[in-house]
Symmetry: C2
Subunit: 367 residues, 2 copies
Amino acid sequence: MASERGRTGQPSRAGIVDVARHAGVSVATVSRALRGMPNVSQATRSRVLRSAAELQYTASPLASGLVTGRVRSVGVVLPYASQWFFAEVIGGIEEALRDQGYDLVLHVLADERRRRDFFDSLPVRRRVDALLVVGLPLDERESEVLRGLGIPLACVAEPVPGLHSELVDNVAAGRTAVQHLLNLGHRRIACIGGDMTGPERYNLPGLRTRGYRQALDRAGIDPRSEWERNGDFTPQGGESAMTSLLSSVDPPTAVFCQSDEMAFGAFRALRRSGLRYPQDISVVGVDGHELAEVFDLTTVAQPVAAQGAAAARWLIDRLDGHSRSEETDRPPEDDRPPGTDRPPEDVSLHPIRLVLRGSTAPAPDHR
Amino acid sequence: MASERGRTGQPSRAGIVDVARHAGVSVATVSRALRGMPNVSQATRSRVLRSAAELQYTASPLASGLVTGRVRSVGVVLPYASQWFFAEVIGGIEEALRDQGYDLVLHVLADERRRRDFFDSLPVRRRVDALLVVGLPLDERESEVLRGLGIPLACVAEPVPGLHSELVDNVAAGRTAVQHLLNLGHRRIACIGGDMTGPERYNLPGLRTRGYRQALDRAGIDPRSEWERNGDFTPQGGESAMTSLLSSVDPPTAVFCQSDEMAFGAFRALRRSGLRYPQDISVVGVDGHELAEVFDLTTVAQPVAAQGAAAARWLIDRLDGHSRSEETDRPPEDDRPPGTDRPPEDVSLHPIRLVLRGSTAPAPDHR
């Protein structure tokens, strides 16, 4: 019985040579097929797996790991598992890892205790071949712990010094969103972003705000501090930031929300105030959230799952020694912004694009 | 240098006895602390980890796994990683596993090839101590493969015969939503659900539709097949189902959407048709999606992360032999529906509740 095998934990009854003979392939092919490596056809892989199952052969990842020094797992570290952006990135990473026979091991550092525990125990436990950090700015000690592991490291969304990064140009994202509003004739443009001074040290709100200010500056408009609001990157935060903007003496005609989720909250504030978009106020977001289309939100979309997948492939290249960099979604050199904006070698920039929908319209005096 | 240790893969310089002596605790405590087991205080755990780091001790999970027969990993199998429900469940599972020192290994069976591959290779690879299936109805062969592993198994959202299940009563969810509309005086109530006959064999749409029909039946209303629409459990599907309901000769005054995401799509159809909720039509959903509040959607909420966490704790109880069943969110016996609805012993039902918001109002002729 197959079930006895697992329960008793007895050694397997057939060896890898038996499986190879049964499937009519080489031992190396069996090994590659069982480890889920590429370059084994689907037909061969199925034959090997069925032979192994028929002979009740059980590969021991523990034993083979002791030989190769590999566990064929990549750790993914992030502050939230359930937020839309993080869930999308996880999906992209998982698919890319699985394609190359790697497991994804999830580490959600949801609070300070978990975070301290993770970085304390990491050097001791060593259960992954590589680590991928998503949307989590690290302090000095934390990045030092990671670098001390001597394994490939990459990050997505928030750059970590010394780690390969897959990112979008967040300054350009802010500039693009606001330039769109300027082109529609708006000059009274507010910005709902995140905390730029708190202990969490996220870079993203500061970068998108810089893009907002750059676009205003180029149009000869002075930024007004009372029009820069903190929406905490949540729908609730977006709603209360929009509510307070609407109740000011001199409300804006357009709002740049640094995430689509904050824009959703802003929509609710409009509905509660009896206002409509885009007639009364234009709203533009950033992200390309799946519900942005449902709510007719104009947004600067970024390829979210693709950033995760690219980081995973970069790590696998380092682990398995393939050269697959030609295949990534990296934009050609010529598309990169000139001069100081040029990214260093270890940053891979992904394209952003304005997706035009019904939440933005010409400014009232331009109609 | 710490970094040399990882790169060269040399054996660690200190043994577990040295770490115990340095930290002033027993070897057993070091072992428990390093494996992330409970019953070690945070202070002791930190001291052990810092001693281990200082002495450059590296626990080998591979070697210790060979001794214990455990890899301290639980596999989580699901059809999507990025959808809201699945992302929430993953978050709940991860937190519960991590609390007991287990890793979460993610398996997203996004297409038929991945799905076949997973079940073919599972008996051979054996890299997890237990498996948790989320929202994925299995066929005969697939459940047989799982049971043949001889490891603890559990499922969430879609029951799998022979597996411990953490669920909500989906018939009651449908009934509750529709009874709410009936109580508001609506009698022309449509239902937007999912595919009940397709090859994917999801049970959920059929169960929620049964609840819809039961509520109508109790109110003496005959169900009308043209008012039961397939919205594919996506916002886009909800939008097109609502669009076609609105364009019928005899449109409903209220719609029960079997998921909040379909209700969001239905809202878009209303906006595009120049209709408002709840003035022109009432809408009720199921789930308790984080954006339901933002869009004032009345919904039958279920505890999503809690179902994942409960399934994870159930598995850990089987693995580590604790009895923690008192602590689960299981409702008391008395709250369960009487008679035939009573769940078998291996099903744990989670509570649902109607969350009243602005998307439902009395029927037009009841105002």
